[in-house]
């Protein structure tokens, strides 16, 4: 059933492409704004680059996760989805994984403009950078989908989502920034190991909380 739900999420996007497109355009616009506003030496920008990257991800994830739940509002599709005889926690898991996939695609497409616009060097250890970024994406989307589940069916959900999401996701952004900084500056793993463990626990806690509590959020 999980694969069916995931397939549904991915197929909707494959047909419309509006989520991915808007995320990418918004992501590039933010990167461009950063490059305008950071007229600093390369060394300074290199130090701040990881923070800029995760702030970009934060904004784009907000946009993406809101749209992902807004789909369900149209024609009251969500009511139909929750009346299906399935474990509702799986809806959360499907949205989490699909959100993770969209976010990763967006990052793949903005990463070259990001490094080029800011005129900074790619990290030396690309594979570590990729793995840690994927890990951070998983944590960001776990919290994003949980918060979006809370905000989605209230009035003015588009305002409520960032208001709730930004403070709740702040530990994840701090951890992701520290990990990326460590990778960018080629620091040994021991320097940022604590943040990896930290992200791991956030993924487990948010994932379990989302899976267990989503049932109550979607109840009619």
């Amino acid at each position: 059933m999980f694969y069916l739900l995931l397939k549904k999420e991915l197929f909707i996007e494959l047909r419309s492409k509006e989520l991915i497109l808007s995320m990418i355009v918004f992501g590039i616009a933010i990167v461009l704004s950063f490059s305008f506003s950071s007229d600093l030496s390369r060394v300074v920008v290199q130090n701040y680059a990881s923070g800029m990257f995760w702030i970009t991800v934060l904004f784009v994830a907000t946009l993406g996760v809101h749209r992902s739940f807004a789909y369900e509002k149209e024609f009251d599709a969500f009511s139909m989805l929750v009346t299906a005889p399935i474990d509702r926690g799986l809806i959360f898991l499907a949205k989490w994984i699909s959100g993770f996939i969209y976010l990763t695609i967006m990052e793949i497409l903005i990463i070259f403009p990001f490094f080029n616009f800011l005129m900074i060097d790619f990290p030396l250890n690309i594979s570590v950078a990729v793995i840690t970024t994927l890990f951070s994406n998983l944590a960001v989307m776990a919290v994003a989908n949980l918060v979006s589940g809370i905000a989605m069916r209230s009035n003015l959900s588009e305002i409520l989502l960032p208001i709730l999401f930004f403070p709740l996701v702040s530990p994840v952004i701090i951890a992701a920034t520290q990990i990326s900084k460590g990778v960018m500056l080629n620091e040994p793993y021991a320097f940022w190991e604590i943040w990896v463990l930290f992200l791991g626990s956030t993924i487990i806690i948010s994932g379990l909380a989302g899976y267990a509590l989503f049932d109550y959020l979607v109840e009619e």
Binding site: I150, R153, I163, S170, W195, T202, A209, L213
Partner: protein
């Protein structure tokens, strides 16, 4: 207000809290020792720490009653959760006000990157979102469920937020790491008394607020 305090037990409770609060204020001003480097600024410690304790206690109450509401769907648990969230946020605001008042003469600036300060601020912001969610409305039962879930998620996040901030910049953690058990009795006793008075004040406030919320709900039902 009169209805609530016309009840003998509530009136005695109110009277006790007023008397205890007055004794507490006098005790803090006249009976606590002056710390050489901090002078009067240190006195705020007897208000700041109990406020933080009551604030976090209140958010724990929000989580517990959120779980109870989700399990039973009984409105009375939601009323307790809402009252606790409001009073908790009031005390958190007090923490955020008294903290900088203490910090300005001691640290030379009202705000620095410090885990407990930032954790409190983040939690405060989450609860502002909590009230906005309740205010923006939507279907009432759903909004109550969402509020209960948010109360649970927020409290689960407290240790995560705290650790994240603590790990980030350990070199600039200026918050006094006070080991209360090792303090002399002239500091420890008034501190514990203040903690007790604030807790009593909290229970009085929450009882009264629940009463007012129930009254409001009755009025809304009759309109």
């Amino acid at each position: 207000m009169t209805d609530f305090f016309q009840k003998k037990t509530n009136f005695i409770f109110l009277l006790s809290v007023i008397i205890l609060s007055l004794i507490n204020i006098i005790n803090i001003i006249y009976n606590t020792p002056m710390i050489p480097d901090q002078h009067w600024a240190q006195k705020i410690f007897y208000v700041h720490v109990p406020s933080a304790w009551v604030g976090f206690l209140s958010y724990l109450v929000v989580m517990i009653f959120g779980i109870m509401y989700l399990n039973s769907n009984d409105d009375k648990w939601d009323n307790v959760g809402l009252a606790a969230a409001e009073i908790g946020t009031f005390f958190m605001a007090l923490v955020l006000i008294t903290g900088p008042i203490w910090a300005t003469p001691i640290w030379g600036q009202p705000w620095i990157w410090e885990p407990r300060l930032v954790t409190t601020l983040i939690l405060f912001l989450i609860y502002i979102g909590y009230f906005m969610m309740r205010a923006f409305g939507g279907y009432l039962e759903r909004m109550k469920r969402n509020a209960a879930v948010l109360g649970i998620v927020s409290f689960i996040n407290v240790p995560i937020i705290f650790l994240s901030v603590q790990f980030w910049s350990p070199e600039i953690q200026s918050h006094p790491q006070v080991e209360m058990a090792q303090q002399p009795s002239e500091i420890l006793s008034p501190f514990l008394f203040s903690l007790f008075v604030f807790t009593m004040l909290y229970f009085l406030m929450i009882r009264y607020r629940i009463y007012v919320i129930q009254l409001n709900n009755k009025i809304k039902q009759n309109v």
